[in-house]
Amino acid sequence: MRNPDGFPTKPWLSQVLAMAGKRNPWGKPQGDDGSGSDGGDPDGAPSKPTADTPPPKGPRNPWLPPGRGGSDGGEPPRRSASIEDIFKTRGPEGPRRIGGGGGGPNFRLPERANGKSWLPLIALGLAGLWLVFTSTHQVQPKQQAVVTWLGGKYSHKLGPGLNFTLPWPIQQVTVENVSEIRSVTIGGEGEKLVLTGDQNLVDLSYVIRWNIKNLEQFMFQIDDPELAIREVAESAMRAAMAEQELDQVVSGEGRAVIEARVASRMQQLLDAYRAGVAIQGVEVVKADPPAKVIDAFKDVSAAQQDANAMRNRARAYAQQVLARAQGDAAAFNQIYEEYRLAPEVTRRRLYYETMESVLSKTDKTIVEADGVTPYLPLPEVRRRAVTPPAGPAAPEGGAGR
């Protein structure tokens, strides 16, 4: 079952190639049969169908026009294709059963020049590779590794650098990133309401930063260290929040205290569990009033602004009043100085100036009062007020006389 080029020929292959002949469902012409079976084994399986043997009742080609059957020279009508035809010629049992064994025990490796097998060399090479790859371990600067015997008993720890152990599976190595600081965010998506000491609610989100301080403890002491960190964080955070009032939390003045307390409490608890975890820091990312009452909280700061605005307006008004008082007083003082020098004259002057300025702009009617009760036609007075002032000025003068 070997071709000249040394490759074993699978009998099913030749069968498939032969199928490219007339029974091929794609309807290749019958004349190509020869080339189809060229690659095949000359002493192939006895049952192997070729063009020379009488055609078995293979599946009918559904794409050929029905008339072609007649022109093929009285070939008996073929049955329809069935799914079994496919499996009969493929898969391990089909052709082998027919062809009498494929590769199987007759398969042979290529040989070395001196006729010996490559097998020992390959085995040796594989063993060497196994040794090299499973007994040298490069540990990166941030990492540490734990070595266990057969995955069970703890042996020792590997630091950064190139390390050697016994090969797998005698010693097994688990590498872990130790000094890298990892962070866990708690809260953040959605509202996470926490009760404060004065029984108010705060929407809280915070970040825990931690790293591994003792790798054996981290690996062997707690079943799920990250879950433990989360739960310890929640517990410590709630305890710390319950010691603070809402205003201190929201305004931020209490945050530093909270962060420090949570970090130390977490460390205390985790050390009590011997979790091998170092808490590097706790940061409150968000501490807001709940969404439902945030408007009321905003209104408080708006009220602060309003109050300041009112004070500012009052101050502005006060400055105006004061400045005017000072101005008025200063003006009076100036005049009064003059008045004291010549009281009568100044008084007269002021009187006349004022009257002049006042009366020059108003309508004037002068009534002789002595003995005569004047009849005042008020509509007449009003009419005159509307007419140009030049007109009534003359009769007034006359009336005055």
């Binding site: 739960e231 709630r238 009033p289 009052a314 008045y339 300025s357």
Partner: protein, 283 residues
């Protein structure tokens, strides 16, 4: 030299190796550092491998390669680490009739694997047995306290009591409770939460109104002070000669009223008026 030849020459060796491997696989066990193993011989626990001892450093605990007799001995692994016992969130009624939704966790470790295997069977069963005990002790203990105390430092004391009570039960299963902590204590959804929101809201509204009122008060004070200052300034100036002030202010008032005041004014003057004194000629 092919597979057939190898098989023919080394048939005995290959069979021996295969038998050895099978025997080794069914005899040898590897106990990891994270597990304890109970060796059960025909239903009877006979030995504990890698039992938890608090102060033994890793590497000397007894983990590693062990053997058992196939078919007769069976090995059951029990976790050696500190495990988490989670609880369904519980509504707790404080002694002042306030409701609080409490979520707690406990940490435990199996210190007597034989007892654990006998009484509980597996970690999962143990958890299922302990969880209801945890929630009922929690409710009992917290129900004795007022609501405010649940939130504050007294928590530590309550937690210690719960831990002791739960530990007493857990010891029967060979487990030790290391810690019990409340991780959430929330107001339950619905009316308790709503009323809390309303309280917060009204609290803030009151604060806002107080701030506005104090702003208004300050503004009034500032204005009044300014007016008092102004009056003082006026008094200091005008008080020097009230009679002249009367005249001076009257003059200013006339100007304002007739000159700058809006609306036309018509004056009807008597010839006797002071202004027209000269108008008549000196009498």
């Amino acid at each position: 030299m092919n597979a057939q030849a190898i098989w023919d020459t080394h048939k005995a060796t290959i069979i021996a190796v295969a038998v050895l491997i099978v025997a080794a696989l069914s005899t040898l066990i590897v106990v990891p550092e994270t597990q304890q193993a109970v060796k059960i011989r025909t239903g009877q626990p006979v030995a504990v491998i890698n039992k938890f001892e608090p102060d033994t450093p890793y590497g000397q605990t007894g983990a590693g390669l062990w053997y058992r007799i196939p078919m007769i001995e069976r090995v059951q692994y029990v976790d050696r680490r500190i495990m988490n016992l989670d609880m369904e969130p519980q509504q707790v009624l404080s002694n002042d009739q306030q409701r609080l939704q409490v979520d707690a966790y406990a940490r435990f470790r199996i210190i007597n694997p034989v007892l654990m295997v006998e009484r509980a069977g597996s970690e999962e069963t143990l958890r299922a047995q302990l969880a209801p005990i945890l929630s009922s002790t929690l409710r009992q203990e917290l129900g004795r306290r007022p609501f405010a105390a649940l939130l504050t430092a007294e928590r530590g004391n309550a937690m210690a009591n719960i831990r002791t009570a739960l530990d007493r039960q857990a010891r029967q299963y060979g487990a030790q409770i290391i810690d019990v902590r409340i991780k959430r204590a929330d107001l339950p959804d619905g009316s308790p939460l709503e009323t809390a929101f309303t309280r917060m809201q009204t609290d803030r509204q009151a604060e806002a109104e107080t701030i506005r009122a104090s702003g208004r008060r300050d503004a009034q004070i500032i204005q009044a002070e300014a007016e008092a200052d102004a009056a003082n300034t006026y008094a200091a100036a005008y008080g020097k000669d009230p009679e002249f002030y009367d005249f001076y202010r009257a003059m200013e008032s006339y100007r304002r009223t007739f000159e700058q005041g809006s609306g036309e004014s018509t004056m009807i003057l008597s010839p006797d008026s002071e202004y027209l004194r000269q108008f008549r000629g000196q009498r």
